[in-house]
């Protein structure tokens, strides 16, 4: 049984086919990586998988539910969480509050309870705060428990987004280039974090240019090029696929530079 099923998905922007006739299945419990050069349509695909963009054609079925055409918050309600390549941190809040926002779906309450701050809500808020702090420690942000989000360095913000996404208790987590912009040490620490997510029962979709990271944690790899599927299969197979090497891994300085980022 697949957790996520994508059927003939397409997205056009004017004349550009950012994603074209793409189909794949993701079984539960894996780390499923999506790689491809810049502009291949990876971010667009994640935007489609979270309802931020509506597909031009095709279907998205998650956990047996057809979510095509739904709003982003409905995708979240079904258990899909994500992080962003262009950070979408709430900079007007503390780091802890950012993660608490992630607990929204479990915490939400009636307007009356919110306005009157019922004792029950006060207790729930307390628990929420504890749990958010716990998640921050889990992603390695123990030093930022009382920091304001707008005072945190880039690398910490990327982890903050992971903690916020985890706070939603997702079944599926989409990570858009989590290692981009991190220094080598920070990138190395990410391996363990991503690897441990499946242990928490979270299936991971990883979009990433850092091939060391991808090869280290992936069970399965999908290669995109110009919005289309170039190759797909277990990590070891894809790594040695001549098509992939030619289109992505092998050619030129740019790709080489990307690999070493």
């Amino acid at each position: 049984m697949s957790l996520l099923r994508v059927e003939a998905l397409s997205k056009k922007f004017g004349g550009v086919n950012a994603v074209e006739d793409l189909s794949f299945d993701i079984p539960p419990g894996v780390v499923y990586s999506i790689i491809g050069p810049n502009g291949a349509g990876k971010t667009t695909l994640l935007n489609l998988l979270t309802g931020i963009y509506q597909p031009s054609a095709g279907r998205i079925v998650f956990g047996g539910h057809d979510l095509t055409g739904r709003a982003p918050y409905e995708y979240a309600n079904h258990g899909i969480a994500r992080t962003f390549q262009n950070l979408q941190v709430f900079f007007n809040m503390s780091a802890l509050e950012n993660v608490m926002v992630g607990r929204y779906m479990q915490e939400r309450c009636g307007l009356a309870a919110a306005l009157l701050r019922t004792p029950r809500l006060a207790r729930a808020e307390h628990a929420c705060r504890e749990e958010a702090a716990e998640l921050m420690r889990y992603v390695g942000l123990h030093n930022y428990l009382s920091a304001a989000a707008d005072a945190m360095p880039y690398g910490a913000l990327k982890r903050l987004e992971i903690a916020r996404a985890l706070a939603t208790r997702p079944k599926l987590m989409l990570l858009d280039e989590p290692a981009a912009g991190l220094n080598p040490t920070e990138a190395l620490e990410l391996d363990d974090l991503i690897g441990s997510l499946t242990g928490r029962g979270v299936t991971v979709v990883l979009v990433e240019h850092n091939m060391r990271l991808v090869m280290g944690v992936s069970d399965h790899i999908l290669v995109l090029d110009y919005g289309r599927k170039l190759a797909e299969g277990p990590a070891a197979t894809v790594r040695n696929d001549p098509k992939v090497i030619e289109a992505y891994l092998g050619s030129g300085v740019a790709a080489a530079a990307e690999m070493h980022r």
Binding site: F84, Q85, N86
Partner: protein, 291 residues
Amino acid sequence: MSAQFTQYLLTGLTVGAIYALVALGFSIIFNASNVINFAQGEFVMIGGMATVSLIAVGLPYLLAIPLAVAAAALVGLALEKFAVEPARGASVVTLIIITIGASIFLRGLATIIWDKRFHALKPFTGDAPITIAGATILPQSLWVLGVTLAVVLALSWFFGRTLLGKAMLATSHNRLAAQLAGINVRMVLFLSFGLSAALGAVAGILIAPITTTSYDVGVMLGLKGFAAAMLGGMGSGVGAVVGGIALGITETMSAGYLSSAYKDAIAFVIILAVLFFMPSGLFGKRGGERV
């Protein structure tokens, strides 16, 4: 076409031309700076009131009008220099409040320099109505239409053909790229306030002989011009003209055929209805930020 319909059409065109000029002022400043200048209506007021004063001291129209336009343009430049420029990077709401503060300031200043009374301005060339297809039109309305047309043509030449105009357009499309291409973006911003103010003043002078002028004529004209610019799609020159004319005609028609009591409300009902179906106006840019 009944004579009454023609009459409403002509009146609507005249009013619409004025809205178009004010809307163009909004759009030019918006393009250069992303600021909605709520003091735009005050330029209309300054144009009209200054002309009244200059005529009163005995100047002929030929001198009074350019002087009044220049005065408004100077105020526009000063507004940019002393109120908008120092607040660069502030939020949309903050900038809105700054320009509204400026409009209150200018209105207050007007009550001191001038007064709170209504002033009539003599029509440019007599007031004997001209009959067209059973409807009458004032010579002043012809002035309004003619000058507006000339201004629109001049602006399209300016933005299409001159280096400065092209620089201003480039800045509105992509500020950073314009800056990299060596355009002095700050100068563009500065000049756009002067140009918008001059446009507003022209509108104020043209309409004063028809509706009279006073220290607070700018309030409603400013809001309607804003509505016209929004209707066309803020930032679009064509949109401003089409929006202005469309607003003027619809307003006059519905005041004539439906209810004159709600004449001033019609512009806002239209704009709400349009925004309901087209959240970026008729000609506005679509699409939001990318994530």
